[in-house]
C-alpha cells in the first residue's frame, strides 16, 4: 500500500467505474421515438368526382351504387333506452323540385342520381342533394314499419310498385356550404334539411353535419372488369319534435348516417 495509497486507489476506482456508469447509462444506441406531432395529420388529395349524365361504360362519369349504399337512422328508444335503428329502403341523390314530387311507377330509381359533385381539394365546388322516401323506413318489424311509423311520421303507406316522392313522403337535404374540417380529413357540411313530418307544411332547417370522403380506389385489378370506387359518408342529427313528431317511443334527437358508394362502371 505504500505505492498505492488508499486515496489514490479510491480516485482510480471512482474515475473508472464512474465513467463506466455514465457510459452505460447513455442511450446512444437506442433509436429515439419519432417526435409526436402537435396536431392531426391531414392529407388531402386532388380527386374530382362528377356524375355527368351517368352514361354506362363512361369511366369519367360516377354512378351512385344504390345497391351498396344505405341511409340509416338511429335514436334512443323511449328517449332513454338503447338505440332504435332503421334504414330507408328507397333514397337517391337528386334535387327533387316541386314538379318532380309525384308517384313513379317504377321499381328502379325514379330520378337520376346526378345532383352532386365532389372536389377533394376545393370543397367550395362540392355539393350534393339527396332524398329519402319516409314510408320506406325499415326497422325489421313489419308491424311497426307499416303501422305506427306511417302515422307517427305523417306519411302514407307503401303502394307496391310505386315510388312515392310526393310532399308528404319525402325528406330532402341540400348542401349550402362545404368546408374543410381543420381537425381531420373530414369536411364540415351545412345543409338544408326539409321535411313535412307531422306539420301542415314542410319545414326547412339548416343543419351542420360531417362528411367523410373514402378515397377513390381501383378494384378487381388484373381482370377485364376492373373499375374504380369511392365513398361519401354523411352524418348529421336533427330534432324530430321540430317536425311535428310526437311519438314518445323515440328520442328528440335522431341521428342520420348516409353511406353512399359510387363506381365508374
Amino acid at each position: 500500500m505504500k505505492l498505492l495509497t488508499n486515496k489514490t486507489l479510491m480516485i482510480f476506482l471512482i474515475l473508472i467505474s464512474g465513467y463506466g456508469y455514465i457510459a452505460s447509462c447513455t442511450h446512444e444506441s437506442v433509436v429515439p421515438p419519432t417526435v409526436a406531432t402537435s396536431g392531426p395529420i391531414i392529407t388531402r388529395g386532388t380527386n374530382i368526382q362528377l356524375p355527368g349524365n351517368m352514361v354506362v361504360g363512361d369511366t369519367t362519369q360516377w354512378k351512385l351504387d344504390k345497391a351498396h349504399s344505405n341511409v340509416l337512422w338511429s335514436t334512443n328508444y323511449v328517449g332513454v333506452a338503447g338505440l332504435l335503428t332503421g334504414r330507408f329502403n328507397q333514397f337517391g341523390m337528386h334535387e327533387v323540385i316541386d314538379a318532380e314530387m309525384q308517384n313513379y311507377l317504377t321499381a328502379g330509381q325514379p330520378l337520376k342520381d346526378t345532383s352532386w359533385a365532389f372536389n377533394e381539394a376545393d370543397p367550395t365546388k362540392t355539393y350534393f342533394n339527396g332524398y329519402v322516401q319516409v314510408n320506406q323506413s325499415n326497422t325489421g318489424e313489419p308491424g311497426r314499419d307499416g303501422g305506427c311509423n306511417v302515422s307517427g311520421l305523417g306519411t302514407v303507406p307503401i303502394v307496391t310498385g310505386t315510388q312515392n316522392l310526393t310532399l308528404t313522403n319525402i325528406a330532402r337535404i341540400k348542401t349550402t356550404s362545404v368546408k374543410f374540417d381543420p381537425l381531420s380529413n373530414d369536411y364540415i357540411v351545412t345543409l338544408n334539411f326539409t321535411w313535412k313530418g307531422g306539420l301542415a307544411a314542410p319545414l326547412t332547417q339548416s343543419i351542420v353535419g360531417r362528411l367523410k370522403y373514402v378515397s377513390k380506389a381501383r378494384v378487381q385489378i388484373g381482370t377485364g372488369a376492373a373499375y374504380s370506387v369511392f365513398g361519401l359518408q354523411l352524418k348529421f342529427q336533427f330534432n324530430c319534435r321540430d317536425f311535428g313528431v310526437v311519438s314518445t317511443s323515440i328520442a328528440d334527437k335522431v341521428d342520420i348516417e348516409c353511406n353512399m358508394n359510387f363506381n365508374n362502371k
Partner: protein
C-alpha cells in the same frame, strides 16, 4: 477479449463476484484511516476484509458447483470440470481463509484487482477507441453494481459473525 461467448460469460461471472472488492477495500481503509489503536472497531473491520473476500470466494465456488450439476456427476461417477486460469485465480480467493494469508490484506486487494481490470479494460477501450460495444460496458457495470453489493454484504456478514463470536467468548 476472446471471441468465445463462454469466455466472456466466465469473465462476467468473475466480475460479478470479485470486481467490487477493491472499492469496498478502499472505502473501509479510507474510513479506518491510520488507527493507532489496534483494537478499535474500524481497525478490526479492516482485518476482516480478507475473510469477507474469502466468503465471496465460497459463494463463487458454490455458483460454479451449481452450474456443474454436481449431484448428477457424482451419481454418474463422471466428475469433470474444465477450468480456465481465471477461474482458478478466482478459486484462490478461498486461500484467504488461512489466517496467515488473511493477515496480508493487501494480497486480497491485489487478487481482486485482476478482476477489476477486466472491467477497466472494457471501459478504457470504450473511452479510447470505442472498440467495445456499449452493451458490453452496460453489462459490465450492471455486474459491477451487483459485485459491490455482494462484497459489501459479505463484509457485513463477516463483521456480524465476528461480533457474535466475540460476544459468545465473553
Amino acid at each position: 477479449m476472446d471471441d468465445s461467448l463462454f469466455v466472456y460469460l466466465q469473465q462476467l461471472e468473475l466480475i460479478t463476484f470479485f470486481s467490487g472488492y477493491p472499492f469496498i477495500y478502499a472505502v473501509v481503509f479510507s474510513i479506518a484511516g491510520n488507527q493507532q489503536d489496534k483494537n478499535s472497531f474500524k481497525n478490526q473491520v479492516t482485518k476482516l476484509l480478507p475473510s469477507g473476500y474469502a466468503l465471496v470466494g465460497i459463494l463463487y465456488l458454490g455458483f460454479q458447483l451449481k452450474n456443474l450439476y454436481l449431484v448428477y456427476f457424482i451419481q454418474n461417477n463422471n466428475l469433470t470440470m474444465q477450468l480456465t486460469c481465471w477461474q482458478i485465480w478466482g478459486f484462490l480467493s478461498l486461500l484467504f481463509w488461512i489466517p496467515a494469508l488473511a493477515k496480508k490484506t493487501i494480497l486480497s486487494l491485489l487478487h481482486s484487482l485482476v478482476f477489476f481490470f477486466f472491467l477497466a479494460r472494457d471501459i478504457i477501450l470504450r473511452l479510447s477507441a470505442s472498440t467495445v460495444d456499449i452493451h458490453i460496458v452496460r453489462n459490465d457495470m450492471q455486474m459491477y453494481t451487483v459485485s459491490l453489493l455482494l462484497n459489501l454484504g459479505a463484509i457485513l456478514v463477516i463483521v456480524l459473525l465476528s461480533f457474535l463470536v466475540k460476544q459468545y467468548k465473553k
